[in-house]
Symmetry: D3
Subunit: 245 residues, 6 copies
């Protein structure tokens, strides 16, 4: 039995509150258990210099944690004067994952920036950010599609993410912080609504893992992601119907 | 009549939600109209090097805005690699203001760091941060006082802050963003529960102001701050009774 | 009696040496007692990007201290790689204050940068910088007005600044460093030649202050500033006659 | 047929020159096709502050490319003043991978830093760095084991890495740069001599991938890594016999 | 007798391997004894902003050492976030020296960047960088001259550099690291093929030196540089004939 | 005839005002023609970490220019966030030069920091800084020698510096800015009171130079430096008698 009484293949409760920040084109507060992330989507009618004039858009992400999102206070990266390696790795992952389900051609020459700010952390902040950012992005792109003349809705599929791991020789879905810190193997999976992998990142720093273990982890992740996508659909309401159309 | 129908001497609705972030020793979500700030208080059992061995504590503050707290997205200071002048000015102000009502001797050799993170901005973010941070600080100091042997409760008085300004030749209390951007004179006032000034910062960049105008602004601020302190008292409940004892 | 024998309402001797740096369009060495600041005004025929094409000019300021301007040597901010909060706060204040008496429309699309470099510090470096920078700015704008076709002299009023404080329960004008370090309340006031406030920044970190104390401080500051403006007029000679015309 | 005539499941020629840099405790020049990396292992008789006093060692890595390792010159990160996200991600990966086969307890309180400097890049620089760094690390640890009293040789298994990808609907082993830039799916795999996974990082930014494709990629990687380990063994000579003992 | 058995006026063996890095327009590995430097020349068809529109080219240099080029590991400047004073001084010297033998007019509006990366250091890294960078630059300019219509070959003379010093009261040519660290006087000389000085940098921090000693050092350097130029000619083959034409 | 009517072998007027900054242990304003530098010497009773426990002192220097010391305003290095290459090169030179005439053993474990701040620049700012810093340093060391028990006065010789150059085929002593910008060869020489070289830095970027030209430059510099030392002696008064004793 897990520390919070969950089954091995059970995620924590997922709650998505849309329109959480009034200024943003799309925004959610996503809560997965005690992990809470504000995701906003900002639209700019221009693309980065390296993409100018190609008629294609861009999707990028930034990730941060409030200093006291964690059990002990972390120094702000703004005060240190630079982004840490973990932050950069995560925001590159979020951006890459979201771009995999957006047709940049259909989006046209504009940039969508997803800001994922963790206000409370209890494991799975990067996977929760991806799941929440997808919803914020869909809301912003819906807003664009209503005022600009887009050829077709640019989002080609749903996308969500979950962590899985091996703890006490068992495969656990959606690790809370305390579980994560004891895991021998830790894997983050990003998957589309049609069940294809976008990112598979498994690490066995403490203990290398076998093909069988890998398979078990992927199976658990797949089920978890499909349940996350159901919550996304509910949060998006009618906008959900436009995705992958 | 003001844009949101308020009287000249009326503040926006103030709401303080305590224990908003579970890891912090003290935390609130403070909402003043559409301005929303998460304030956390973190306690460390050590002081900065310049204060070591004096038997006194320290109170300091950091301030930040989420990139999309505002109408258009701002670049993160962590991404720029340095804190802007405005941020530094505000966090120096918050720290200075809070220290004015804390007996650092009674606090003992420990540091309280107040993090004020604006998640949605609509004018008055620095004054709202001070008002909210006071409550988070009181909660954290209460927690210390329950486990450590403090000689006497270290907070000597209540403290809150409000902005006032001259807009269309009228004195307005608690400026919303749209009012602030049209104000000829802009003043931030920090005051104690006993009605004494801790900070008075008035700026007439657009138009210098007279002694009479200054007096009118201060009178308006005084009333606004006393009403803020009532909300603080309610949020703090029994802890309020320990302050200034 | 004050440490240097002054009356409570007496400033230290003020001396302004014009044309102190030959390359600058305007320059002074200003000495207020032992505080010595070199102020230069540099003119550029362009404005910052955010102001382009509006037909208006810009006035900005930078402030620094030589490492050994103070009793113990301070590390250079250039060596640290960033400006401190105090520096940023002061240079924002100087720029804002000077802009309050310049018609940016009349100035036309050009930038005046005031560099205030403290070569010896004995209290009041920010107020001395403002008083000196005003003279350097007037000299530079006079030079522009002689070669460019300005509609009207762009400086609308005189401007000077002084510090006041409460030391030993007395209101002191123009605090020297030793007085400043003992002051319970410390206030910097910037005022125009016509007696209106541009900035009022009072801080009672050590001890909050009452309305009566505030009034006493402002009265003392007003007299001090008007005497500073007399010294500015003398230093400027015939240029003084153009101001506020 | 691939651009350089290789079979789909064939790596490029691998060459490891040991003792390439005379000052380092371990060093190699590793060449995988036209990709060339200098890997040095430096030993310090101390550990980072967060590990002090635990009796355990540390293994860490840094990664860089010479500006002209690539087809067009890249600006130096030292000149930019910060490490890029890609660099941080790679050096975190290398360090994590190598630690998975080192018993930090047996190593004792000392740090081994692996510097991987790419002097010529043609795809696979991160996987080549891992394969080469393993050899440099083994040489350095061998040197320690000869002079210090280690309980048992600290390296528990061999470790190598290779990239695989899907190009033109085919699974390719060890992608050269030109192949990599056309790949729909790109995966880096780190594996031990006993065939267990340490890192699996697959990305389908251009096109999500199925379980079947994932399986095919992993099978190809496994064969490639085992052949890399043969080259490592030859390069290490008698030292190879100590590993995993 | 010197530590490695050389005569006082003898350089270490010099070896120049051309075309060492395949992507660069010009590249060498230069070895002077145990000092090894990779020099690449990169051509860009544009000049820095301050030179635009003058019809002239630019030559600039960057210098770096791998962390383990030296006996103990040095922290990377990219990790520190800034270039050290020694690095900046050396790269300014290399650029200045090379420009002295290039007609920027004949080169046309393009930039040649010389990257000198020390992979193993044993004294004389800056002089070795200059000698090697000259060859890489000549190769790159030769490549330009074959495809672009240059009026005349832009390199006006050969250029090489060597260190000299006074060790044990003797004048030594081409100091190895161990000699350099014992030298009372240390001098770097850059000279053209026609025997004229481009840079003379002598330092007697440990012990000031006389005119006679200076003359002896310069005579030794002159002979050493001429022998270096012979090695350059051999490495360049037919390209050598175009220089100074 | 030179632009200001000087003879080829004539320096500009040199004026040294001692005790210019009241807080510093030693300070001068040195004026060489229109070049004006404030040099302060600060004493700290500790040495940098790398020198601890050796019983020896340290002498170091920092150099900066006020933004408007020059004809057009330069951006502050503190605002840029880093020191430029020229600044680093100059401050390394000043420190190295001064250390050559100080017995660090006699000085004992303390650090003297020379700050050279150019308030007005007209050529020769680095040589003027050395000449002025020597006087400030002597004053500070004299102050130490009066209160601490030094075995012997730590300064072993006088030290001054001057620039020389070849302009219009003539050898000029002490170049003003306008001459410097036209010079084909530019050389900075630092020499002791006993006529020995400490630094010789000659650059012929525009045009390489011969041995005869070098000899002519050195002869001119020698005479100029000896005349500078006469001014130093006069400024130091009785302290001069202790030097080299």
């Amino acid at each position: 039995m897990r520390i919070d009484g969950r089954q091995n293949n059970e995620t924590r409760p997922v709650r998505i509150t849309t329109n959480y920040i009034k200024h943003a084109e799309g925004s959610v507060l996503i809560e997965v258990g005690e992990t809470k992330v504000i995701c906003t989507a900002s639209v700019e009618e221009r693309v980065p210099p390296f993409m100018k004039g190609q008629g294609r858009g861009w999707v990028t992400a930034e990730y941060s944690m409030l200093p006291r999102a964690t059990q002990t206070r972390n120094q702000r990266e703004a005060a240190k004067g630079k982004l840490g390696g973990r932050t950069m790795e995560i925001q590159r992952l979020i951006g890459r994952a979201l771009r995999s389900v957006v047709s940049l051609e259909r989006l046209g020459e504009r940039t969508i920036t997803l800001d994922c700010d963790v206000i409370q952390a209890d494991g799975g902040t990067r996977t929760t950010s991806i799941t929440g950012a997808f919803v914020a992005m869909a809301m912003a792109i819906h807003k664009i599609s209503e005022t600009k003349n887009l050829p077709k809705f640019p989002i080609t599929d749903f996308l969500a993410s979950v962590s899985v791991g091996i703890v006490n020789e068992e495969t656990y879905l959606d690790l809370a912080y305390e579980e994560d810190s004891k895991a021998k193997v830790d894997m983050n999976v990003v998957m589309t609504g049609s069940g294809k992998f976008v990112e598979v990142q498994g690490t066995g720093e403490e203990s290398p893992f076998s093909r069988e273990e890998l398979n078990s982890l992927l199976a658990s992740a797949e089920a978890g992601i499909l349940s996350m996508i159901e919550v996304q659909k509910e949060a998006l309401g009618p906008i959900a119907g436009k995705i992958g159309g």
